[in-house]
Amino acid sequence: MASLDTAIQELNPKQLEARGEQLRQEGIVIRTYDLWKTYIMGDQEIHAVSGVDIEIRRGEYVAIMGPSGSGKSTLMNLIGCLDTPTKGLYYLNGKLASEMEDDELARIRNKEIGFVFQTFNLLARASALHNVELPLIYAGISSQERLERARRALSSVDLEQRMHHKPNELSGGQRQRVAIARALVNHPSILLADEPTGALDTKTGNEIMLLFERLHEEGNTIVLVTHEPDIASQAHRIIHIRDGKVDQDEITSRSKN
Amino acid sequence: MKPNDLVQGTLGLLILRILALEPMHGWALSQRLKQMSKDVLQVGPGSLYPALHKLEQEGWITAEWLISDTKRRVKFYSLSKEGRKQLEAQTADWKRLSGAISAIVLPVRS
């Protein structure tokens, strides 16, 4: 792999583009090459992510595990285009996300990525419907269609009746389902969830996991971060992270192939 | 032991403790203190009254003027609800502190 890394760093823009096209055709949604994220704290360098190469195909269901502070969230945010890598290349759906400008990244987040957070991150003052509608607004979709699609997304997580409730009028599980509906509403290439069950009790957590299972069966590509082996075991592949590096990449028993 | 040697603020604790038994006036309080400490602790008016007034100001004790059998106006102090809470808190503190002090001081002597 290392030789490939150095090789790819030396490609010219045309070749990089060609590589992206190739990845897309092969159905590889996510591909990172020697991805680094380094934070400077005073005179100390913290390598939160240090040289990660991963490849995730369309339709995969991947769990990322690792001890606290190992860099899971950092990696997720790089994949989610919320953050830019210090070094390395990142192809999302054949496009070189690591080289993109702010506005392009915003568009990518909007169109290609559905984010689910541990603490839901819903807008407190907005109804469930409006929360789900939000990504569509930034996608520039007409209000008629927005409403229709948001309603459909909510009904797909069984929350049609709670459409007009504010977040603080919903239970934790319901809030997370709203967040998932919001993540799905734009039909993203990939659904990213950072400890989606972290703030929920076991029973509610399991309900959410069932929902993920269903979404996967419907063809969504899912990457989720978790601490709990129980949860991780429901994925079809587990990537173990340690000290910012991929430690182990295992295929679980649930995998069909 | 002279009250001056008492740890700062301890006199307040002692007053609260004694008033917790029953309301009484200043002089009686000084006598009771002497008696309860088996003559170890003696407190004169110079320390007693300022302490009483301070406690009254804090609202931990309340005062009331009564007429004694000898027809004198006598100022009776009693513990307030706040004072009771304060007493508990200070007693706990005191236990912790004295425990800590003995833990350090006593082994040296032995």
Binding site: N77, A106, N121, A124, L134, Y138 | H25, Q57, W65
Partner: protein, 890 residues
């Protein structure tokens, strides 16, 4: 509960000192008695008991002292602690403190300023004993302004009235004086009936007033001088009393010097002479006197008005020729002095009140923001057991501290700007020399500022402190922390600020536009490159001297010879400056009408070059010429207003007019020209009919000459280029050479004359603009604060939106559209306010257009720009947020 008790005890220690002291005595004595009892009970002798008592008593004073300390010190320490804490909190939030204090200082400062002006000018009684009894009496004729009263009518009123204890008549006057040293100078003062000082109840500080009711023959003239005049021109010499001073050529002995600050009827009155009955004083139709009377104690103004009505109808019946349609009006003398500026001052007071409101809204907004930001601090305090009262007390201390510092700074600001205001307002505000900051005003201000600071500062903070912690916690879990109601309240406050600011801005815009309109309206002449100066002959000239040919004409000729001078003119009453005179006249060949309904015109004597000096356009006929001399047929020039009024559809040139009243009877005068009208009394006044007589044809030794030439006359000198002031010296030299007794004063360019005529309006417009500018600053700071706060509170919100794909532009747009929304609502409210206030204002301030779309348009647009700038920074800050770091930080 507990703190309440403590306060009560402390209050008792403070208020009821003696009781506390005697209690303390009792308590300690009680101790001693117990000691004695104990000693006795122990079987000791009385001597031992006494010794015990003495030893117990020893040091009791110190005990008392310590007890007092124990009581007092806590309170002191608490307060000091609170203060120190408040100071620390303010220091920790320097931005907040600075904006709050500055805002309050501005609000309080301008209010102190206007309060002081209004207090000193409108509210404080005039500096005469029992000045509320002083009443001014005017004549009122149907369809005309208040006017003066004739001497016979005055004497009749005084004789018939039962409700006035005293009544005096006076006439504002200006005269050429000659000091005992021989130095000539011109000065203004008044000629008054000798009892004037008795009416006012002010005695000279030196010498005596006029001899009582000096006989009307007026052989022996006396003069009373102002303290300033005495100091400046007589070097404060007490021996000046009895010396003689020449007033308009007449020698008068100085009888007294008035005390400092005596200024009647005008601010610059310097001398008072007994009223000399003019030759036509017996003429009931010649109104030239002002009347001031003192009501008997307990008499109301309404009663006096009723009595005057009765007297007027009696006079009307007795003298139907002259007093037909006559009425008298009475008003408090104070209203006469200050009435003109009252509406403007009140409007300005309204403006500063609005400014204070805006400032208070700002403080409220800041406090709300802080209270929310301190929710955690409050929660921790509450968890540590601080009672709500304790927290409230701390907020209270903080608010009070802010209010005190702010108001203090405001007072300093006010004191600083008061001097400036007095200087620039000297000509625009009456009683300006009396304006001074009084402790009552400071106190009132402190109270108002304190109350508003508390209301606006403490209430929201208190409300925030009371917020349900449960709800707060619930809100913050998984959702973005809210404070929705607070945000709404803050929005409302900002909207109100913007509305009020628009009102002030539009108001000042209206005033400025009106002023600009006046200054650029066609005044009927060209003011550029003209120097004007007023002169007066000494008055010692022989009665029959022809001043026109011996003084004025040679002077004009020589002035025109001067290098740089293009043309020099001369007129009795310069436009927009020293008054006017009017007279009724007859038109030859028309049926004679009754005296009351004859046409009237403003009267002037002018030189041949006056019109070209001021570039007054000739519309028909010709100007005066040198050939129009005393012996030749008399000629006149009229203005277009008179032409239209009296000769509609005819050519006035060639028509003849004449005067027929008493001593003013003339032969027919031929109209030879029609000129454009000039604004005589004020730029806002519509032009009136004007009639010019050739100064060479004014017959000497008549009332005409007295009236039109032996007056303050004005030279208008047009220079060929450059600054007209450069010829001032040489022109004065010419005048001095021709007539050494002639005084020259009030030298100003014509542009300055025009500008001075709108001084009051200018001052009003400037002040309102300053206030509006301050309001703008404060309101925009408020908007900025709200948006910044919104951004800082909703960081997470914004980060979430960015995570969901909002671009930086989207975020900027979000904040800006928020600002725009607030602006739009504020604008709506402001425009409604402007419409409402515009009507109010225009009813108060003459010549103001209530609806001025241009001013409003500029205001709205300007405010939009400023709001945009104020919103831009928070918007940029929001857009530069790092979504990942923000989401991570929570």
């Amino acid at each position: 509960m507990r703190s309440f008790r403590k306060w009560r005890l402390r209050l008792r220690s403070l208020l009821d000192r003696s009781q506390v002291e005697s209690d303390l005595d009792d308590e300690l004595r009680d101790y001693v008695e117990w000691e004695i009892d104990k000693a006795m009970a122990a079987g000791g002798s009385p001597g031992e008991a006494r010794r015990a008592a003495i030893s117990a008593l020893r040091g009791m004073e110190r005990v008392k002292e310590e007890c007092r300390d124990a009581r007092g010190i806590r309170w002191f320490e608490d307060t000091l602690g609170d203060l120190r804490f408040a100071l620390r909190m303010l220091r920790r939030a320097p931005g907040f403190a600075a904006i709050a204090i500055l805002t309050l200082a501005l609000g309080a400062g301008v209010n102190a300023l206007m309060f002081t002006v209004i207090d000193s000018v409108l509210l404080r009684p005039l500096p005469y004993p029992d000045s509320a009894q002083l009443v001014s009496i005017d004549s009122v004729r149907a369809g005309s302004d208040r006017g003066s009263i004739s001497l016979p009518n005055f004497l009749d009123i005084r004789r018939q009235s039962r409700l006035f204890s005293k009544m005096a008549a006076y006439e504002e006057n200006s005269a050429s004086l000659r000091l005992p040293s021989g130095e000539p100078l011109h000065s203004s003062g008044a000629a008054a009936s000798p009892n004037l000082f008795e009416v006012l109840r002010v005695r000279p500080m030196l010498g005596s007033p006029f001899p009582a009711e000096e006989d009307h023959a007026g052989e022996a003239c006396s003069v009373v001088l102002s303290a300033d005049f005495w100091r400046e021109h007589l070097s404060s010499d007490p021996r000046a009393i009895g010396q003689s001073l020449t007033v308009d050529g007449k020698s008068c002995s100085i009888s007294g010097v008035m005390p400092d600050g005596f200024a009647f009827p005008a601010r610059d009155s310097e001398f008072w002479i007994p009223l000399q009955p003019a030759p036509d004083a017996a003429n009931r139709g010649a109104s030239f006197l002002e009347i001031i009377g003192r009501l008997k104690p307990g008499v109301t103004l309404a009663a006096a008005q009723t009595e005057l009505k009765v007297i007027a109808s009696r006079l009307e019946k007795a003298y139907p020729d002259d007093d037909n349609g006559l009425g008298f009006g009475a008003r408090f003398y104070q209203d006469r002095v200050t009435g003109d500026v009252r509406p403007a001052l009140l409007a300005l007071l309204g403006a500063v009140a609005i400014l204070l409101l805006i400032a208070s809204a700002n403080i409220a907004n800041l406090q709300l923001a802080r209270a929310l930001g301190r929710k955690r601090e409050m929660a921790i305090r509450a968890a540590l057991g601080a009672g709500r009262t304790r927290v409230a007390r701390q907020l209270f201390t903080e608010s009070i501290l802010l209010a005190l510092i702010g108001t203090g700074a405001g007072l300093i600001l006010a004191v600083g700007s008061l001097g400036l205001l007095k200087r620039i307002a000297a000509d625009a505000i009456p009683r300006v020399q009396e304006i001074a900051l009084r402790p009552e005003v400071c106190l009132a201000l402190l109270v108002i500022a304190g109350v508003s600071a508390l209301l606006f500062g403490l209430a929201p903070a208190w409300q925030a402190a009371r917020r349900d912690i449960e709800a707060a916690l619930r809100e913050s879990v998984g959702a973005v922390a809210g404070g929705h109601n607070q945000q709404k309240l803050r929005d409302v406050l900002v909207v109100a600020q913007l509305s009020l600011t628009i009102m002030l801005l539009a108001g000042s815009g209206m005033l400025l536009r009106t002023l600009y309109g006046l200054l650029h309206a066609d005044a009927g002449f060209a003011a550029q490159q003209v120097l004007t100066m007023q002169t007066a002959v000494s008055g010692t000239e022989p009665q029959d001297q022809n001043l026109a040919t011996t003084v004025y004409a040679p002077e004009l000729d020589q002035i025109e010879q001067l290098p740089g001078v293009k043309v020099a003119g001369f007129v009795t009453f310069l436009p927009l400056s020293n008054g006017s005179a009017s007279a009724s006249f007859l038109i030859q060949g028309r049926s004679n009408r009754s005296p009351g309904s004859q046409p009237r015109a403003l009267l002037n004597a002018a030189s041949d070059h006056f019109f070209s000096a001021l570039r007054v356009p000739l519309l028909k006929g010709r100007f005066f010429s040198r050939a129009d001399t005393l012996g030749r047929p008399r000629v006149a020039i009229v203005n277009d207003v008179l032409a239209r009024r009296c000769f509609a559809g005819e050519n006035p040139v060639g028509k003849q007019i004449a005067f027929d009243a008493g001593d003013f009877k003339t032969d027919p005068i031929t109209i030879v020209g029609v000129v454009h009208s000039t604004r005589q009394t004020g730029l806002a006044e519509p032009p009136d009919a004007q009639l010019y007589l050739d100064f060479r044809q004014v017959p000497p030794a008549t009332l005409w000459s007295q009236f039109l030439l032996k007056q303050i006359m004005t030279y208008a000198v047009r220079v060929s280029s450059g600054d007209p002031v450069t010829v001032s010296k040489s022109v004065q030299q010419v005048i001095h050479r021709v007539d050494p007794g002639q005084t020259v004063f009030h030298i100003a360019t014509m542009q300055e004359v025009v500008s001075a005529s709108v001084e009051g309006r200018r001052l009003g417009a400037i002040l309102l603009s300053v206030f509006a500018g301050l309001a703008l600053v404060v309101a925009v700071a408020g908007l900025y604060g709200v948006l910044s706060y919104m951004v800082s509170q909703r960081k997470r919100d914004i980060a979430v939106r960015m995570a969901l794909g909002a671009s930086r532009d989207d975020v900027v747009r979000m904040i800006l559209s928020r600002a725009l929304l607030l602006y739009a609502i504020g604008l709506t409210g402001g425009v409604v306010g402007v419409i409402w206030c515009g009507h109010l204002l225009s009813s108060m301030l003459a010549g103001l257009q209530p609806w001025d779309p241009l001013a409003l348009g500029i205001t709205t647009f300007g405010l939009l720009l400023v709001c945009f700038v104020a919103a831009w920074f928070p918007a940029r800050r929001a857009a530069s947020l790092d979504p990942y770091a923000t989401l991570r930080a929570e």
